[in-house]
């Protein structure tokens, strides 16, 4: 079942706030470390705080992307979502938002976002859930 020659689970984070970026990266790292079953499930996490840098480094074999909705440079998570889906249809895009702008977020879901996570007390739980699901899928594919 555990085919370690299989591609690692690639996770990317785009969050313009450095603090929150680090926090999220740390949390995702912790969770993936828990799920990796003593490093038998390889994973790779990369985080960005800048829209351009994110897109220029984005790889088409990315499994999960956590994207903040409001970004600098007049960009939003929706813009990133379009770009990701254009290059990598299977990538799960999770939009992070700290306020409930339902119109924009509904639009994201309609345009292919796999989920919305609000930055509140439940952020960790929902991130954990997404990662759990991803690891299950990875095992299944293996």
């Amino acid at each position: 079942m555990k085919n370690i020659t299989q591609n690692p689970i690639n996770i990317v984070i785009l969050e313009d706030n450095e603090y929150y970026n680090k926090l999220l990266t740390k949390r995702i790292n912790q969770k993936m470390n828990e799920l990796s079953e003593d490093n038998l499930i390889p994973y790779f996490i990369k985080s960005y705080s800048n829209y351009s840098e994110f897109l220029s480094n984005f790889k088409t074999d990315t499994h999960v992307a956590f994207i903040d909705f409001f970004l600098d440079d007049e960009k939003t998570g929706l813009d990133v979502l379009y770009k990701i889906k254009k290059n990598c249809v299977n990538c799960k895009v999770i939009i992070l938002s700290d306020h409930k702008n339902f119109d924009n977020l509904t639009l994201c879901l309609n345009k292919g976002a796999s989920g919305i996570i609000f930055k509140d007390d439940r952020t960790n739980t929902l991130c954990d859930y997404i990662l759990d699901e991803q690891v299950k899928n990875w095992k299944y594919e293996a």
């Binding site: 313009d16 706030n17 450095e18 603090y19 929150y20 680090k22 926090l23 740390k26 949390r27 912790q30 409001f70 600098d72 700290d98 306020h99 930055k119 509140d120 960790n124």
Partner: protein, 819 residues
Amino acid sequence: MKLKLKYEFRFIILLASIFVLVIISASFVYRKLAKTIDNISFQLKPDEQILIMKSIKNDLIDAENKIYSFNLTKDYAYRASFYKIVFESEKKLRRLKNNSSEDKSFKTQIVLLEKLVLQKYQIVDSIAQIQNQYRVNDVLNKVEEQIQVINPVKAVPKPKEIEDKSWKDVFKKRKTSKEEKKLDNIEKDKLLNFKKEIGEFKEIEVNKELNNNKLELGLIQQDKIVMSKIDQLFLLLEKTERKSIAKKTQIAKANATDAKYFLIAFSLLSTILLVLTSYSIVQYIRRNNEYKIMLQKAKKDSDDLAESKMRFLSNMSHEIRTPLNSIIGFARQLAGSETISKNQGEKEQLGIIQHAANHLLSLINQILDFSKLQANKVELVMNPFNPKIELENLVMIIEPNVQEKENRIFFRIVDKLPENILGDEVKFKQILLNLLSNAIKFTQKGRIDLIVKASKPQGEKIVLEIQVIDTGIGMEKESLSKIFEEFEQENNSTSKNYGGTGLGLSITKMLVELHGGSITVTSKKNSGTCFTVFLPYEITDKKSPVTDDKKSLREVKGINTPINLVQFLKGKKVLVVDDEPYNRKLLVSILSKNKAHIQEAENGQMALNYFDKNWFDYILMDLRMPVMNGVEASKVMRNSSNLDKRKIPIIALTADNSENVQNQAAMFDGILIKPFHEADLFNIMQKFNNSNEIFLNSTETNSEKTVIQQKYNLQALRDISNGNNDFFTDMIETFIRTTKSGLFELEECVKQNDLKTIKKIAHRIISPCKHIGAKDLSEMLAKIEHYDETLMNLEDIKKIVSTIRIEADEIIERLEKEI
């Protein structure tokens, strides 16, 4: 109690009687039954005497048979067997004799039997001896036959025999002897002589035999008689024996009947006792239930009474607190006025009013606490707290009172206290405050020691041992047992000299017991008193929600004693809603002194009218009012169509510190319990103005009312750091850096009137602020993030940004200390 004992005693006596009776009856029945069983088993065994007798009888027959066999076969083995049987019979007779009972006639009969049996054997033996004498006759017959073989003609005729057969033979032989007369004369004579001799001898022998026969006949006759006697004797003995058995059977029967009656009696007795026991138990249960119902009713009545007492006290306390609020409030206002401060006499009189009012307030609080505790209306609210910080704060709070009586206080922690424990910090402080206040009250120019140590942890459990030792007036030993009882003081003079309701220690004890702890006291008259409290707690990893910010009061910066002018109130519009004119007047006095604009309303309805037509920065709302109460009015305000007006801070004012009010707390932005100190009012109000001023109520010792604003909470960050200090520090540094740069950008945008970018920046920095629990800062940033251009202008934004700067700088400063 007496009744219960009586019943218990009766029940025990009854049970003991049943036990004894059952044992006695069971023992009787057992003995009777055992006897009966013995008898039956004895009867079941075949009677030995009869058996021996039968055996002897068989021996007699057997012996006779042996003798007959011997007579017929001439086999001496039979004769030997005969003697053996005789020997055996003798033994059996001896046994019979030995086994015979004490019955003399029976014994005599046995002796007779012995004689007869032996006689019988002698007879049989004699007959055998007689019968054996025929051998001579046989020998002679053989001799005669021999002679005839030698000379059959001269055969000597056979002697006359007794039996018929012998006589025939003799007749035949006489015929033969006539033929022999023709034989040789010499031989004839010899033979004749021989024949004659033989004949004579034979005749003698035949006579002897005849005699023997007679003797034998006599013996046989005798034997018959003896045998008949033996049979009769056997019958008699058997009869006697059977009689004895019948007698024993009769006894066994009687025993069985007795046992049966005993069993019946035993069963009856047991049934009666069981019925009695059951009846007693049922009675006991019934009465017990009756008492239980009575007790429940009594308890309910008592609870109802306690409840109504508490309600009454609560109402009374409300009614008393309301005027007291005016008294204390105006007294404070007067104390601050220039006229009073110049007049020493008036100042002193005002001091007395203040002191008396505070004392009255403390009494009301104590009575209310006591009645709540009595009505079991007090529960522990479990939260993590740092005992060291709480103790330090407590010492600081009481320090002015200590100094007032020229005392010194020493606070010592033995070893180390756990950083965080799970418990009710308010009650913890209340216990210690009561004990410390007590120590201060009874000590003048002395020393008060507060010594705290923690027991060795047992798993997560620890016990805090707290000692409050004073060098005050102390107590007599006899008084110590009573001091924890309500309304008890050492003696009347104590209450006269030192005041107090006598409830303080009683409340303390109840609070300690509510914790599952204990309190002890030792004291010596004129030497001092030592109270020792043991309070169990649980060590926790969780930190107090305010631990990060709740530094010891000594460490908190910017604490001011009440100030005459509060800057943040300047120009603010305040709606004061209270039906009590004195209270309104007091609030107006406090607020207008600080340049706030006041609008007064007498009830909720009036307040709503003003609310609809005007904008207010604050609403101070009394809860109990005629026409429309404060809760209803606040509900209407919270549902106002004007969204901004919904957010106007409403601070509830109430003299009712009951649970109901606490439950309604969520609806209000703050609750002020009357009577309140103006510092309390300012502390609550400044939260909504983003002022960084903190006002410490220097005279009020109730720490519950001391509000120190919580700035942030790093628990979430600590949780995710999972002990990784580098990460924790890095995150704090990142927060500081990004927030600083965000603030800088924010201020730049304000300078450039770039309101659009302001929103984005606020959005960017708000998430970390939320994450570290900087609630006020987050709320202020949210105002900018979601600002509505139609409702707010640049000036408003500037104000908010400046308060954000102050708040953020303070948080950053504290965070820098954290790392």
